[in-house]
Amino acid sequence: MIYSRHRGVIFLVLRRMRAPLAALITIFAISVLGLTIVPGVDANGEPARMSFFHAFYFISYTATTIGFGEVPTTFTEAQRMWVIVCIYLSVLGWAYAIGSLFALLQNKTFQNALRTERFAGEVRRLSEPFYLLCGYGETGRLVTRALDHMGMRVVAIEIEPRKAAELDLHGLFADVPALVADAGQPDVLRLAGLEKPECLGVMALTNNDETNLAIAIATRLLAPKLPALCRCQSVEVAANMASFGTRHIINPFEKFGEYLALALHSPSAFHLLEWLTGITGNEVKPHRDPPRGTWVLCGYGDFGRLLARALDEEGMTVTLIDREPPPDGTRYRWVRGDGTGAPALLEADIKSACGVVACTGNDVNNLSICVTARELNPDLFVVVRQNHFSNNPLFQAFDSDAPVVPSRIIAHECLAILTTPLLAPFLDHLKASREDWASRLLQRLTGRFGWRVPPVWSVRINAREAPALFALLMPAGPEVTLDALMRDHAKRELSLDCEALYISRDDGSSTLLPSPDYAIRPGDELLLVGTRQARNHLALTLENPNTLDYVLTGNDMPGGWIWQRLSRRHET
């Protein structure tokens, strides 16, 4: 299907309706003409022919089955005879015309064209910033819901009609225009608004690496400035994506490997990361930290390999259980077998191991491994890979220490990258930090905001995001400290319930956990964490000059021009 030429559904209808309409006109013409020729009588009984005007009137109401009777005078027998012919002719004509129209409306291609047209129209009219989402699977659903909660618009492309239809059922606040099409085609992306200035970013979250690659290339060439987030599971495709400058390539398994390594290395930093990148409002449970010792790894596929490397780098001993010998002649100990049964697990010395990783591609097998392993050794730390989201109830019932749900990992990563770009550098600092520092920070923040995932946002001090503060600071204004700014706009003695984690200056320097007397300069970008209310209050302070003035100085400035004039005169 050629998407760029989809502007003319109406033309398609007209083209298909040509023959029926021509037939209808002909039938009307024959009927009217016949009625003016057939002999009749006038009101006085004199022979007279019907005029065109009356004939057209009569045929119009007869053909449309309204039927007022014989107007203007009673018909002669000859006229009645002709009217019988007219009635049946007109029934035929309407049946043909309406039948053709319905056949056209039932036509799959036509319906598709109609849907595409409607989608293109919705996207064209979309005047708010939006994200383009390719692939509305489990990950897409999580991301869409979270963005919707934040008031961001989303445009979705999904190849499976069933999944796309689910969009209407998920109870989102805003409409999500959705198209059933292959997102790998540039025309489809263009139709979905890739080149619109309102498009903020592209997320390639289909479960096909090739399609994601195609989306990445199309984005790079058609809209080079847009950030593209690509899900990718194979190393080769990831390298290909990276080769033309795709900035965000998300491999869920690699990401989990990183997380596990971080959790082993610095448990508090990992908790902090989970707390900051989760979906706002979800509770993060402080869970058990992974122990150090021997790990048994069942299933040595792509994911197994990544995890084995991560564990190895943290200095753990790894024992593999797989039916096939490891292909790369690895130095880890290998036990042939299937982790679902006790013999292989016992052979791998599960009783003295500290953790087990079940990462085969089969959910039932993974659960079976975990249950068996835990029976043999109740203290094991269990990491289990969940492949299909539909098995979620099973995984929830089995209380593992660290479930690996790829869709959730990708969704969190996407949201973190898209909504708070500053989070990434902060997390890098976090990953490199020492355990005691991270632990203190975690205690302080969770003590203040609780274990629920708080709103994390960033603000840039520029004319668009903070007009009032920017205007105050721009021509070498007064010094404004972080502490002075973050105050309640109703009672400035109270400070706002939020905290700056990280500030990046436009000269490239950055400050981790800035102190309260940090002087803000135009162009600074702040990463903040706090309550939703604090976020709204701060936004008002940054936007409204009067509020800002009160927060900084304590003067309650009158709003209007006249009051400003009057108060100034009063002061002098």
Binding site: G8, F11, L12, L14, R15, R16, M17, R18, L21, A22, I25, T26, F28, A29, V32, L33, T36, S51, F52, F53, H54
Partner: protein
Amino acid sequence: MNLEKVVFGFFIVLAATLNFGFFVGELDNAQHHDIYELFAAIVVNLIATVLKFGDRTQIGAIHLSTSLVADLQLIAAAAVWAWATHIAGTGLDAAWTAKVVSLSGGALFANVVSVIILIAETIMQRR
């Protein structure tokens, strides 16, 4: 030879000829203008319009618009005729006849344009 082209050309030319047939004669003499011819002109014009539906080319668009103009003028002429004979009570006198015929004259001009486009299109294709 293409039957579709034959039918298309037939209706366009027939619309113009019927229109001309009704128009020709003294402007205000009802004897020179047969109402059946006006009826035929309207019907053929409507069919010609429908046949032009669904062509997305530039020339197709102009074709359609000339036809729509002719339809509008002819239907206006028919409405004026119906008013004169049935509603005004004066019958089809010289003044009313002149109105009807001059309206059909406007339609004739649109039909001529339509025929010219048809000829131009044919010449352009050189086949």
